[in-house]
Structure formats: C-alpha cells, structure tokens
Symmetry: D2
Amino acid sequence: MHKLPVGVLGASGYAGRELCALIAAHPQLSLRFASANERRGETASFGGKSLTFVAPEDAPLGEAALVFTALPHGASAAWVGRASVAGARVVDLSSDLRPGSAAVPGHQPAPYGMPELSRDLLAAAPVVSNPGCYPTAILLALAPLVRAGLVPEGATISVAASSGVTGAGSSPRPELLFAEVAEDFRAYAPGNTHRHLAEMRAVLAGLGAPSVDLIFTPHLLPVARGILATITVPVTSIPADPMGPWRDAYDGEPFIELVDEPPTLRSVTRRNVVRIAAMPVKHVKSPTMLVYAAIDNLVKGAAGQALQNANLMLDLPETLGLPA
Amino acid sequence: MHKLPVGVLGASGYAGRELCALIAAHPQLSLRFASANERRGETASFGGKSLTFVAPEDAPLGEAALVFTALPHGASAAWVGRASVAGARVVDLSSDLRPGSAAVPGHQPAPYGMPELSRDLLAAAPVVSNPGCYPTAILLALAPLVRAGLVPEGATISVAASSGVTGAGSSPRPELLFAEVAEDFRAYAPGNTHRHLAEMRAVLAGLGAPSVDLIFTPHLLPVARGILATITVPVTSIPADPMGPWRDAYDGEPFIELVDEPPTLRSVTRRNVVRIAAMPVKHVKSPTMLVYAAIDNLVKGAAGQALQNANLMLDLPETLGLPA
Amino acid sequence: MHKLPVGVLGASGYAGRELCALIAAHPQLSLRFASANERRGETASFGGKSLTFVAPEDAPLGEAALVFTALPHGASAAWVGRASVAGARVVDLSSDLRPGSAAVPGHQPAPYGMPELSRDLLAAAPVVSNPGCYPTAILLALAPLVRAGLVPEGATISVAASSGVTGAGSSPRPELLFAEVAEDFRAYAPGNTHRHLAEMRAVLAGLGAPSVDLIFTPHLLPVARGILATITVPVTSIPADPMGPWRDAYDGEPFIELVDEPPTLRSVTRRNVVRIAAMPVKHVKSPTMLVYAAIDNLVKGAAGQALQNANLMLDLPETLGLPA
Amino acid sequence: MHKLPVGVLGASGYAGRELCALIAAHPQLSLRFASANERRGETASFGGKSLTFVAPEDAPLGEAALVFTALPHGASAAWVGRASVAGARVVDLSSDLRPGSAAVPGHQPAPYGMPELSRDLLAAAPVVSNPGCYPTAILLALAPLVRAGLVPEGATISVAASSGVTGAGSSPRPELLFAEVAEDFRAYAPGNTHRHLAEMRAVLAGLGAPSVDLIFTPHLLPVARGILATITVPVTSIPADPMGPWRDAYDGEPFIELVDEPPTLRSVTRRNVVRIAAMPVKHVKSPTMLVYAAIDNLVKGAAGQALQNANLMLDLPETLGLPA
C-alpha cells in the first residue's frame, strides 16, 4: 500500500525522537527525512528502520506531504515558512505560532492543534500549531468548566503541575544530571513566570474566561516522562453531577479518559491520552473544584498530539498509529 | 559525662528508626530502650551501638527521663499516659494529642511542639505533641503572613504538597513497591480529605486566621524522603519587602532558612531545617503570594523536631545533636 | 476474522499482567479468561478491553485453544495437567517442568521453550515449559560458544547478572518497598545458590558442556524491568571473528540482536529481544571472552517468550503480536 | 582550640565537594581555601560555613598544613609539586601518582594511601596518593586472600562491579542525564579496558599475586553513590573458617565491617567503611570463593579515605571527623 511521506525537522530532541518512532510504527506514513543538525550523517534506528539524519538545509521539504518541525522556539517559524513554500503541510511543535506567542514578529498564530477543543479548524489548515505540554493537560482539564460557564468572573485558578525531565530537553545541563535530579523535587519558573502562561491565558480567553487569574507553578519530577496537574478552581456552584461538564464535553473523544480517582502518571505514560478526574473540594465555604489531569508529556503533550493533528490534516483516521 | 536516658516506643517504623539514629549520635542523650513489638528480641545497630528491641510492655518506662512515642495513631495516647504515670516526660509523634485531633476521646491536646511558633509552652510541658510532617512545612510557611495580618478574611489558601514515600510508612503495601512508585507520581486524599487538614486548620485558627479556606492536596513522590509545599495565598497587599514577614518572624531561628529561589528537596534532606521562599505572583489582578517550603519529612517533619522539643524540655541547647 | 481463544492462569502477577496486555494487542488471539484468585470478581483493563478475573477453578479451560499458566512454582504443574485433560495446549511459565527441576515429582520435563535453541521441538508439543528470565539471557549468550566447542572441559564460567524488581514478584515484601530499593543495589542468592542454577546447568549439559563450573550471582537493581548479564568464559582460543559463533548460530533469528558494545537495559525494555555483545578479554594470559546479554525480564524473559512459543504451537507467524 | 588549616584544589566536582563538607565538619581542621576554576568568585556553603572559590593560581598553598588535590587526572601532578614546594603536605586524589600509573612522566608514585594495607608508610610521607574508588573496594576485598597465599598462581579473578553516577563526574554529558540513566543499567570499559586495571594489578603484584589474571567489568547504576563489587576467586582450598583470612587481616580496623550476607549499597552510603562478605562457591568442582565488597565511592572511595590519610599524616586520630 502506498504510504504518505512525511518529514521531521529537529529529530534529535526527546520530542523529535518520539515522533520518529511513532511515524515508523504508523501504518500509513513513511518517514522521508529527519533533520538533526549536530548529528547529520549519523544513522539512527526507529522501529527497526534505519535513517540517516540530514542537516535541515538538506531536507527535501518538497517531497513530504507534511513536515513536523520540532526545532527550538524562535528557530521554528522560519522553517514553517520554508516548508509551506515547498508545498508541504506543517505541524509546528514549537511555541512560535501558538496563541499568546510573542516570539516571532510577522508570523500569525496558526490554528491551535488541540482536536478536542478545535477539531473543525484543523483538517484544512495548511499549518497547525501544536500545543505545549503543560497547556495540553491544563486546558483539557479546564475547558469543560469554562465552556459551561461555571467559572466566575475574576476567579483565581491555581495550578500546581509536575513534569518528568524529558520536558526540559535533551541538552546536557548540570542540573539535569541523574545525580542532581534523583531524590530531588523542585519548583521552577517561580512567581508565575513560566513561558506557557501566555499560551494558556490566550486559549482560556478564547474559551470564554478572559478575566480569570491563572497561577501556574511547574515542578521538576525525578521521572523521565509524564505530567500531572492539580488544579483548584472556584466555581459558581458545584454541578449536581460533578463530572457532568467533562462527560458532556468529551463524549466519544478517543483520547480522553474520565476517572473517579486522581490519575497516576503510570496510567498515561507511553499513551496518547489525557486522564481527568474532577471533584468538589470538601471543608471549604466557597464552592471550589479540584481537577486532576495526567498526560505523557512526549506523547499527548508533544509527538502523539502532533501525529493526531497530522492524521486529521491528511484525512486519515484520527487515532491511526497512536498508542491508546 | 553523664547522659540522660531516653526511650523510644515504636522504633521500627521510618520515624522511629531515624529517632534512634539521632539519639545514638546525640552528645547528651543515651538510648535506654527501644520497643518494636513485631521485632522484639531482634538486635539493631544505630550509629555503631547495638540495641535489642523489646515489646512495649517490657520497656522500663520509669528509667527514662523522656519517652518518645512513635506508635501508630490511636495507639499512642494510652502509652503517653503510661509513660507519664511512670514519671517520664513524653514527646508524642502520633497525631493523637495534636490540635484538631478527634482520635482519642478523653485526652486533651498537649502543647504543640513547633518551637518556632510556641517555644515558651514547651520547656515545662510534661507532654508535647509533635507536629505532623505536612503541617510542619505548611504552617511554618504560612504563620508569618497570618500573624502579620496580611491574609484577608475568608481567603482561599491552596496548597499542593509532595512527599517522599517514607511518609507513607514502612508497612509493605502493594502500591508502595518500588515497581509501582518508580516513574510514577500521584495525588492522594482527593478532594481535600487528608487527615492533617484538621491539625492545620486548628493551628491556623490559633494564629489568627479562623476564617480561611484551606485546600490541601498531597502527592506521592518517587523519592525516599522530603516534602515540598507550594502555597498560593491571597494577601491584602504585597509587602514592600516581600520576605519581610518571614525575616521578622524568624530572626535568629536556628532551623529556618530563608532563600530567594524555591528550595529543592535535596537542600534540606537529612537536615533539621525548613527552607522557605516567598514572592509575589506576577500576571494576576488580585494581590497574591507564592510561598514554597521544603523539609525532610523524617527530620524536621518528625524525628528531628521531636528531638528539638526534647532538648527544650530537658533544658539542653535546642540545637544539640541535630543535623543543620 | 476469527481469533483463537486463549486463557491465562495467574494473571495478577507482573508476568501474568504483561501476558494479558500482549494478548490483548495480538491480532489473532483473544483472551477468553484470566484467573487471579485473590482478585476474582475484579475487573481489569488490558489494551482497552475489560476482563473480569475468575478463580482458577472457575476458568473454562476447555474453551481455550491454549492456556498459559503463570502460577507460582510448585502450584503450576497440577494446572498444566488439568488444562491438558481439558484439551488445551499449555505454555507453563513456572519452573515446574523445566530441565533440572526437582520441584514436582511425577511430572516429566516438557520441551524447553527457547525457540532459538530448540524450535523444532515446540510446534507439536502439547505442553511447553517457558524458560526462566535469567536463563533466557544467559543461555542465549552462551549457547553459540558451547555449541562451537570453544568452551574447554572443566572451565569456570562466571556470571554476574542484575535484574529489575519485577523479577522478584508483586507480593508486598518490606525489602521491595520503594524506600528500600531506591538508591540501593545488592547481590542475592549468595554463594551460588539461586534456583535457576539447576535449569542452566541442565541446558548447558544438553548443549554439550556437561563439565563446566557455572557460578551465577544475581543482583537486584533499582529499576522496574530488565536483566543484564555479564559473563566471563574461558575459551580454547579466541575466534578470528570474535562474534562469529553468534552470527553463525543466530542467522535470521528475529529476536536476537548482535551489537558491538555492551547492550544497555534501555535498549531492550518493552521488547521481545535479547541483545548480545561478545569480545576478547584484554590484559590476560588465558584466552577468555566477555559476553554481555540484555533482555526485558517480563517480555523475552517471560510473557513475550511465552507468546512466541504459543505462536509456534498454534501455527501462527512466530513474531506475531510481539514488540520488536 | 587551634585548628589546622587545609586547602582543597578542585573543589567543584563531586569528590571535591564531599571533601569540603567533611572538612567543614571536622573538629580539628579548618578549610583555608578551595579552588574551583570555572566557579572562582562564587560563594558556596559547607556545613553552614561560607567559602568563596578561588582559581588554583590564587590559592595560598603555603598557608595550608596539608593540601588535597582533587584535580583531573593529568593536571594534578603539577599541583602536587607546587604545593610541596610551598611547604604543604599533599593528598592527591587523582590517579597521577598511583601505582601502575603511566600518566605523568617524571613523577614517582607516592605511597598508596590505603591505611588498612600500608598504614606504616603514610604518617611521614610528604605526599600520599589516594586510591581509586573501584580499587578501594576490590583490593580491600582481595588482599587478605592474597596475603594468606590462598590464591593459586595464574588464577583468573573475575570482578563485576557497579558504581553510582557520581563516580562518572559532574561534567554534563548527555549519557549522564537523568532521563538516560534512570531505569537503565550498563557495562562500560568493555573487554577489560578500565583505567583502574593497572592500579589494581600493580597493588596485587605488591601483595604477592603477580601472576593472576584480573578481569574487571564496571557497570553504571541508576543511583547517585555507592560501589558494589562481586568477586569470583579461585583458591587453593576453602579455609576452614571461610572468613578467617579477613578476620585476621582486619582485626581492630575501624573502617572494615565483616558481614555474613552480601552487603547492600545502603548499608555503606555516607559512611567511611568497606563492608565485606566472603563465602565458598557451592555446586562447583574447583574450590572458589565469592567475595562481596561495598563502599560509598565518594567517602571511603575518595574524600573520606583522603581525610583518613590526612589524619594519619597530621598525627590526628585516624577516625576523626569521619562518618562511621
């Protein structure tokens, strides 16, 4: 059977490698090229198939039906342009074209590739901007409450989220050495300064909550992969069926799993799903809900969602080649 | 030199073992007995000194100047009584006599053994109730703000805290096996139901914040020891010197470390300190602060603080024998 | 398409669960039943398919084309008999019927299910005995040298092997708690006393090395899964092409990967392969080789190999449903 | 009381930092300077005492009674010379002056600082060469057997040893990132090529075993600290009391712990001890012993042993300031 050729720019990072492995196992896509500038000329194996990395300038962009760019923030937008000019559709995994991004003057945000929230915009889009890992977990957890009008004006939403170290990239930095990370745990981006904040605020505004205060504290976990977000949200009132808003919003969604207990990291790793639990907060006077969401930062938080978007853009079944 | 004899009831759990090791290294205390019912007759070594565990009924309570009870919640209060009758002072590491405890009808709460908040009550107390591990981190983080009157009436304080597995005890339970905990992370006590909540609410009320809504979500970390709490607190206004309230409250305290960046677990493990950082939350309309606090759950959160209390009760230097 | 019904006895341990997950993803098998005595009546999900555990006595053995037993050693043989009487083929993951086993008087060893060494015996066998995890790595590493006649009479082969904790089972034992295993490493079965020794000696004798002294020291790693064996073997002489014996023996084998550097655990986990590297020992007078072999103890070392055997017995492609 | 001033060259690596922390806690030493070229001007805290790193050229070598050099191999010898010229005694933690070292032409090996084997040579030595981490564990395990004449001529000794990642240094290398090391295990220096081999062969020759074949395979463990060595040794005959040779050789040694079961890493970490167990190998025809030895690579394997040597050189009690 004929497979559609796709390419990956920025294949040596954790997200890029995960993407190459998923493509290698995909029944209808073939990996036409993968660029990795510092490793160009090296051969890697994905799912038993060998591939030699090229420099991005040597990537035959025009031979791919779709190009994924997993290049660094700031460097990606220009390659989105080149791939588009060469005639390829593009899924951009960087933050360059995401809502709220100020990184790349002159570039318009592309449709936000979170199918559960905006599937209709994606099939025909020439370029799709793949969401950040934290925003994927947090926005999918919050969207049903916001859309149901249950979050009051001016509410303060407090998010504590923790990520495995692959979220920090594969560049060797002293603080990411095993001997530093093991047996440790730390908060970062202190005082609400994480670069994903603008992305989440912009999307929340689009969902109908322009006035909320969002406080987001990320933490670094001594695990390789996975994100767990614990979210405190004031509500106008507790729904009679507390998980009703999520059930309504995500009916039939293949990659949303609603559960009764806070999800564990292990229940989602190596899978393209988000697991969500929501419940009323006891022992408080103001009606408040706790929402818990877990994803694999490299799959639903990056490469898996990118492939989900690509399936939609290429008119393939949305779940094809994705570990459920 | 003459050393003061002390005893430990419940020496086989993680806190009990830590306590025995600290006592073995203490220059002015000697370990007269250690009870461990299921391991009675077994010999253990602490700091190079051998000791044979006894059943609690066989412990010579009257020969100890002070008895630590690290027995399970519910079982401890009765032994506090027996040790008192035998003439010993007592530090109770269980929750039985803590503020807010409803566990043991007929027992009055004992003075709360958190020297930084209530040192004056401890020196003469026959019995001191040693705080819980989470409350130690969280209350020491919050007290200066509350006492300074900066937390508004009815405010919602949101706490996400994470603990190493020694906090869950040493009983073999399937969910605590290495193969389950490694590469995992999970929230527990969902919906604000942790048993430490009553203790924290009672102490906060005593500090002058009876009306706040406290939302507390604990998480289980794949590390052996340590607690990190990330706390979001609405304030009436941001202090000109954001860390001023903590500097004022903890001036000269030997076991409080104020830092500029969120503290890491590694910076406090095996030490009897709490590290605290506090800063304003950016990008929000309502004035809010983020407070981060880290402790070792077995040291400042249990055995170390118990020894700190014992030092005060026995008129020894407060810092003696404690790893700083 | 019609799928062949199979059943699993002993589905709640780590190997049993891995087996159920592999069967759920297998294109030509369906899981007819899974027994888990202590969890009977509970529902579990494997690959998105729900299944209710039954007691072994309630398992409809006769409705399965093939039954896997992952029951404890000693208890398994009787169930092999019952399943056979009910008309099912059997793959026994216990040690009961393995070469060298003295566990079950009255039972004959069944053909040893290591296809790379004895494929011809398996297709028609009513019962196949699935190898132990350590023997899988070690025997596949040693067999080519032995069969080539390169191991001298009376040689001493020294094996240091290390396993992830899933190899120790899922029963909650204090020494397997996260807080005990993390940051630890230990040898066990001291002085050459591991129960897999008889299995390995018996197979080596069958391969033509009845006189060797085999010294085997297993270690417990702070990882969930994987086995790495480091093997020192005296040889009559170093082959001109040091890896020649392995290349010859394993030509075309789908699950053997020969590599130039010692294999890492990560390169084999979640895959049904064994990776082997072999090289001469430098700086010694007696010709000696170092052979390194790595497997996933739950896949090629247990459930994956069991499925590989089942594929052969059921006349399905040997690699079907197995992660390569 | 007057403390003796000492200095540390190369204080920013793991061994250097451990050394600074031990010196800070030592009752009779004070840390006069610590050099860390890339961090010069930065302030660090050791045991509550602040210190500003200097460049090595700016270290007041002449003001120290003793200088520890923890500089890289190859770079250290020259600084040993400078410190000596400045009038300081020196403990060199690098391999430059160790037995078997060919690294530094023109420099003579200094006495080998393993007090349990060569205490008499150390007190008066102007320079002592601190042993490597693996050699410390392995030579202390083997020496009693060799000295007792129990290892036959030409015997092959096979050593599988595993080390925590601090043994690989603190330079950020991709393969030492948490996401690479966690859940992994790997052999390195394949085929008997580790640089510690020459050191061990030279010392074994000096102990009376010039003809043995030593095969040494190191492995990288997913733990921060600790070394466990599992050693297979042919013997002329099994001693009537298998641990007799060790008991005789190490009678009264403060830092040797002889145990009945293979020692765990956890039993030695953060302590200046080596734990050794030895036992006959069962189920073999040739008399052979298994010897297990565990140390903390940063303490007895580096900084602790260096301080033990310094205590001897400075005529202080050998155990002073060392965690037992």
